[in-house]
């Protein structure tokens, strides 16, 4: 059903927008976009055109359409995984190289599609190689190396990576739940809170020693926020309770303030560590007779 849009400057949207700024800190561009979604189209076309060419052509055509659809889906997932890899400072390479697999499946689908159109094996093979190569050129290859910070213990980085993965899973289910409420303002508010949480995640990734201090924030509190969001979304989707919405917004504001304060404290601690290291180095240099001033 169509919904009337009410932004900050709309006649009905102003009162609600006075208290809280629902805009996210920074707009996030979807890593998939139209380019990977459009790849589903040739599969559909092939499925339609394979009818009318006999049973063999139909079977080959449908198999080709399925293979192309799988390739398009893998490409989409590969782009998402790549964006997540680049967003983190410490990350493992994707377990399954989805984009490269997508290239191979584009080639395989092209062979099946060509054979369904009565082309020979040679022509089908040529088209397959060209298709796979073009796919690889257009979408690139998956990240093949783990990303880590220099000078930080690998065991600690693994611990951090695990906690970050769990936190990201909580954030994703939180977003999935709030979408059920079907309120763009709430979605933007949750997105803003999530950006604050992600800032804390990046801080912990940079200095894994902060993990102990931030563990409750990235585990228990986040799980609580997720559960509260799920319950709120169910209530709000049922009867649009303004009281529940107000309580939930307050909860998000409180949480966000706490996460911001904790992240600042973590950063301050890192600065103190730097100051200590500078003092120690100065002392040593002075003992050696070197003056920095």
């Amino acid at each position: 059903m169509a919904k009337r849009y009410g932004g900050t400057y709309s006649p009905t949207g102003k009162v609600e927008a006075d208290n809280v700024d629902p805009r996210p800190f920074q707009a996030q561009v979807s890593p998939t976009g139209a380019r990977s979604n459009l790849l589903f189209v040739p599969g559909l076309i092939l499925a339609f055109t394979s009818f009318g060419g006999g049973p063999e052509a139909l079977a080959l055509g449908l198999a080709g359409a399925g293979t192309w659809t799988l390739a398009a889906w893998l490409t989409r997932e590969g782009l998402k995984a790549e964006a997540a890899y680049h967003a983190r400072k410490v990350a493992r390479r994707p377990a399954l190289p989805r984009k490269m697999l997508g290239s191979l499946l584009v080639g395989a689908g092209t062979v099946l599609a060509s054979l369904s159109g009565d082309m020979g094996l040679t022509a089908s093979g040529l088209y397959a190689v060209i298709g796979a190569a073009l796919h690889m050129t257009a979408f690139g290859i998956d990240p093949l190396k783990n990303k880590s910070l220099e000078g930080v213990d690998e065991f600690q980085q693994d611990r951090v990576a695990r906690v970050v993965d769990e936190a990201e899973a909580h954030l994703q289910s939180m977003m999935g739940a709030i979408r059920r409420a079907q309120d763009p303002r709430l979605e933007a508010r949750v997105e803003r809170f999530q950006q604050q949480v992600r800032e804390m995640l990046r801080t912990v990734e940079e200095d894994p020693r902060d993990l102990t201090a931030a563990r409750r924030y990235l585990g228990v509190y986040l799980m609580g926020a997720r559960d509260a969001t799920i319950k709120f979304a169910d209530i709000y989707a049922r009867d649009r309770d303004a009281g529940a919405k107000s309580d939930y917004m307050m909860l998000l504001t409180d949480l966000e303030e706490n996460y911001t304060a904790k992240t600042r404290k973590l950063l301050k601690d890192s600065n103190s560590d730097l100051a200590v290291e500078i003092d120690v180095l100065r002392d040593r240099l002075q003992r050696e007779g070197v003056r920095l001033d």
Binding site: V29, S30, P31, G33, R35, L38, L39, V41, P42, G43, I45, L46, T49, A65, W68, L79, E82, A83, H86, V106, T110, A113, S114, G117, D118, M119, G120, T122, A123, G125, L126, Y127, V129, I130, G131, A132, A133, L134, H135, M136, T137, A138, F139, G140, I141
Partner: protein
């Protein structure tokens, strides 16, 4: 027939090596932001044309 297979293998090797080279070269800052560079844009358009052409029968054996 043998010449055709040789041609196919040669095209396969050249195209695959070229594709990998471009893919590796393109995985810079633009890729991190999810943007396509000009080579990738052209490759994407060609890919879409090949797939649609094969699906509709526009691209034939000859």
């Amino acid at each position: 027939m043998a010449r055709l297979i040789m041609l196919l293998a040669l095209v396969a090797v050249v195209v695959a090596v070229g594709a990998i080279a471009v893919a590796v070269w393109s995985s810079g800052d633009g890729a991190r932001e999810g943007k396509l560079n000009n080579v990738q844009k052209v490759a994407y358009l060609c890919l879409f044309a090949v797939m649609t052409g094969v699906a509709t029968g526009f691209l034939g054996a000859e």
